[in-house]
C-alpha cells in the first residue's frame, strides 16, 4: 500500500516539476531562437493578488486605423507584424489562420470602434521584483507620457509563440536603468 503511494507520488512529483519545466523549456527556445520585435508602449498599472507585482503594458500598435471591422467568427485571431521605418513593430493585418512563422503573434481579444481596430497582445504584464516595483513603476510612468515616449519592450517570436524579453527605458534594460538612476 505504501509502496503504491510512493509510486503514485513519483508520478505527481514529475508532473509538479514537469509543468513549470515545460514552460521554461518553451520560453528558452523562443528567447534563444525567436526573431526580435520592438514594441512601443502606451501608459497604466494595477496589482496582481498572488504573483508579486507587475507593470501593465499597453502598446501603441494595439490600436490602428481600419475602415471595416475584422470578422473572426468564433476563431482565434492572429496579428501579422511588420517593421516600420523607426524599427518598431506594427500590425500589418489580422488573420484567423494559425501560421507558425516568426512574424505572427496570437491576439487575446479584438474589437472595432469608430474606424479603429483594437487588439490586445498576450504579453501585457512585465513582472518586476517586489523591491524594485515602486521605482520601476515611477520610471515607466515618467518615460511613458504623451510628451515623452521613451519606453519599449523587446519580444521574441518563434513559430507563433511570443516571449516578452526586456522592458527598455531610455534605451536601457529596466534593471540597468534603475541601477544607474537609483538615488544612492
Amino acid at each position: 500500500m505504501n509502496m503504491l503511494r510512493i509510486m503514485i507520488f513519483a508520478v505527481v512529483a514529475l508532473a509538479q516539476l514537469g509543468v513549470p519545466a515545460a514552460m521554461v523549456w518553451q520560453r528558452e527556445q523562443t528567447l534563444k531562437q525567436g526573431r526580435v520585435w520592438k514594441f512601443r508602449t502606451a501608459p497604466v498599472d494595477p496589482v496582481d493578488a498572488i504573483r508579486g507585482r507587475y507593470i501593465a503594458l499597453r502598446f501603441a500598435t494595439e490600436e490602428f486605423d481600419a475602415p471595416v471591422k475584422f470578422e473572426s467568427g468564433n476563431k482565434s485571431v492572429y496579428a501579422v507584424l511588420k517593421q516600420n521605418t523607426d524599427g518598431f513593430a506594427e500590425v500589418d493585418h489580422l488573420t484567423t489562420e494559425a501560421v507558425e512563422t516568426d512574424d505572427v503573434v496570437p491576439v487575446e481579444s479584438a474589437w472595432w470602434y469608430g474606424g479603429k481596430q483594437h487588439v490586445r497582445f498576450p504579453f501585457n504584464k512585465f513582472w518586476v521584483a517586489e523591491a524594485n516595483a515602486p521605482a520601476a513603476e515611477r520610471a515607466y510612468i515618467e518615460n511613458n507620457r504623451r510628451d515623452k515616449q521613451n519606453a519599449y519592450v523587446t519580444v521574441r517570436v518563434r513559430r507563433g509563440d511570443a516571449a516578452l524579453d526586456q522592458l527598455f527605458i531610455d534605451n536601457e534594460p529596466l534593471s540597468e536603468y534603475l541601477r544607474s538612476h537609483s538615488p544612492r
Binding site: N2, I6, L17
Partner: protein, 445 residues
C-alpha cells in the same frame, strides 16, 4: 539527544512486541501493558518536534529568501530557475520521507502537504517572473489545483481537502467574477468532483468527526456558488430549479447520511434547511419568475443546463428513495421545494414568454403565488414540527420564515399602512405565543 534516542528505542520495542508474544517470551497481557506505558509519550514528542522543525525551517527559508531577494535582479535566468525549483524538490523529498517513515503521523502529513502545495505555487510564481510568463490568475489557479489534488489523497489531509475546495471557489471567482464576467465556469464542477472520493473516504472512516462535518459544509457552500455561476452562464431560465434542487439535496444529505441520535440536526442539515428557507423566500418574489425565450443555445450552455438540472433530479431521487422505503426522517414539506419550484416554472411557460427579462406576465404572477403559498405552508409546518419536538430553534426558524415572507410582501405590494400594521402585529404575536408555549412546556415537569 537522549529524548531522540529514547523515541527510536520505544518505536523499536513496540515493533518487537508481536514477535515476542508469538514466541512466548511475554504474554499478550504484558505486551498490552507495555503499549499502554508508552502510549502517551510518542504523539506529544512527535507533534512538538514537527512544530519546532516547521518553525526552524521557515526561519532558515526566510533568511535564504532575504539573501536571494537582495541580489535577485543580478542573477541569471538559469540561476533564478534553479532557485525556483529548489523548494519544490525539498518539499517532494519531505513528502517521500513522510510517506516512508511518518505515514501514521497526522502532523507530519499535514505539514508535508502544505509545504509541497506551497512550493508548487512558489515555483510557478518565480518562473512566471523570471520568464515573463503571461497567463491569467484563473489559469494559474487551475494548474495549481490540478497539481495539488493528488496530495490530498496521498497524504490523507482533510485540511488540504478543505483548502482545495476553497481554491475551487477562488478559481470560480477569478474565471467568472466581477472582473471577468465572460468566463466559462463549467470546469468548476470537474475540479469539485475530483475531491468527492476523498469526502467519501472521510465519510466512511469518520462520519461523526468535526473535520468531516466542516468538509461537507464547505463543499455544500461551494456548490451554492457553483450553481450561481452556472445559472448565470447558462442563462436558460432554470436557475430557480437548480437552486431549489441544490438546497433540498443538501438538507436531505444532511438528514440521510448524518443521522443524529440526540434529536439535534447535523450542521449539514441545518445549512440545507437555511438554504431551503432562503431560496423559498427569494423565489416568492414575482420578479424572479420573469422568463424570456431569448436564451443562449450552444453546447457549453446546454451542458450548463444539464448540470443545473442534476440537482433537482438528485433531490427528488434522494427523497423518493427514502419515501419508498418508508424510512423518511426528513420534513416532507421541505423536501417538496424542487417539485413546487418545478410546478411554478411550468406555470410561467403557459403564457407566451416576453422579449426580455423586465416584463411580467399573468403566469409569472401565478408562479409567485404558488411559491408564496408554499413558503407559508413550509413556515407553518416547521413551526408545528418545532413545537411537537419541543425544539425552540426549529419553531423560531418556522416563525422567521413566515415573518420574512410577510415583510417581503409588505414591501413589494401596495397594501395600506393599516393592513401592514395589522400584519406585523399578527406575526409578532405569533412569535410571542409560540415561544411562550414552548418555554412553558420545557419548564413543566
Amino acid at each position: 539527544m537522549a529524548g531522540v534516542r529514547n523515541r527510536w528505542a520505544i518505536r523499536w520495542l513496540r515493533s518487537q512486541l508481536p514477535e515476542l508474544v508469538a514466541s512466548g517470551v511475554i504474554t499478550s497481557e504484558n505486551a498490552r501493558a507495555i503499549e499502554r506505558h508508552y502510549e502517551h509519550d510518542e504523539p506529544r514528542t512527535n507533534f512538538a518536534f514537527v512544530i519546532l522543525a516547521t518553525l526552524g525551517s521557515a526561519l532558515v527559508a526566510a533568511g535564504i529568501i532575504l539573501l536571494i531577494a537582495h541580489n535577485w535582479d543580478d542573477l541569471s535566468r538559469a540561476t533564478r530557475t534553479t532557485i525556483a525549483f529548489l523548494p519544490l524538490l525539498i518539499a517532494q523529498a519531505l513528502v517521500v520521507f513522510t510517506l516512508m517513515r511518518r505515514n501514521e503521523s497526522r502532523p507530519w502529513r499535514e505539514a508535508a502537504a502544505i509545504f509541497d502545495v506551497a512550493a508548487v505555487a512558489t515555483a510557478f510564481s518565480l518562473i512566471s517572473q523570471t520568464y515573463q510568463l503571461q497567463g491569467t490568475f484563473s489559469d494559474f489557479m487551475r494548474t495549481w489545483l490540478l497539481l495539488s489534488i493528488a496530495i490530498v489523497y496521498l497524504l490523507r489531509t482533510t485540511l488540504g481537502a478543505i483548502a482545495y475546495v476553497i481554491g475551487c471557489v477562488v478559481w470560480l471567482f477569478a474565471t467568472r467574477g466581477m472582473f471577468s464576467p465572460e468566463g466559462n465556469p463549467m470546469l468548476f464542477w470537474l475540479l469539485l468532483v475530483l475531491v468527492i472520493p476523498y469526502v467519501a473516504i472521510r465519510f466512511r472512516l469518520d462520519r461523526a468527526g468535526r473535520k468531516t462535518a466542516i468538509l461537507v459544509i464547505i463543499l455544500a457552500l461551494a456548490s451554492l456558488f457553483g450553481v450561481g455561476a452556472t445559472a448565470d452562464f447558462a442563462n436558460a431560465n432554470v436557475g430557480a430549479l437548480a437552486y431549489a434542487g441544490l438546497a433540498t439535496a443538501i438538507y436531505l444529505c444532511g438528514m440521510k447520511f448524518f443521522p443524529q441520535t440526540t434529536g439535534r440536526l447535523h450542521p449539514l442539515a441545518v445549512v440545507g434547511g437555511i438554504a431551503i428557507g432562503v431560496v423559498t423566500i427569494v423565489l416568492s418574489f414575482e420578479s424572479n419568475w420573469h422568463m424570456t425565450y431569448r436564451f443562449s443555445r450552444n453546447s457549453a450552455a446546454n451542458l450548463a443546463v444539464a448540470v443545473e438540472l442534476l440537482f433537482p433530479i438528485a433531490a427528488v431521487c434522494l427523497a423518493g428513495f427514502d419515501l419508498l422505503g418508508r424510512r423518511a426522517a426528513f420534513s416532507l414539506s421541505a423536501a417538496l421545494l424542487p417539485i413546487v419550484a418545478a410546478v411554478a416554472w411550468a406555470l410561467t411557460h403557459l403564457c407566451e414568454l416576453p422579449d426580455d427579462k423586465w416584463h411580467s406576465t399573468s403566469c409569472s404572477f401565478a408562479a409567485a403565488i404558488v411559491m408564496n403559498c408554499y413558503a407559508l405552508l413550509l413556515g407553518i409546518d416547521i413551526l408545528a414540527r418545532g413545537i411537537r419536538r419541543n425544539s425552540i430553534a426549529r419553531a423560531n426558524f418556522g416563525l422567521l420564515l413566515i415573518a420574512a415572507l410577510a415583510i417581503c410582501r409588505f414591501f413589494d405590494s401596495d397594501l395600506s399602512f393599516v393592513a401592514r400594521g395589522v400584519g406585523f402585529i399578527i406575526v409578532g404575536l405569533g412569535f410571542l405565543v409560540a415561544n411562550l408555549l414552548l418555554f412553558k412546556r420545557r419548564t413543566a415537569p
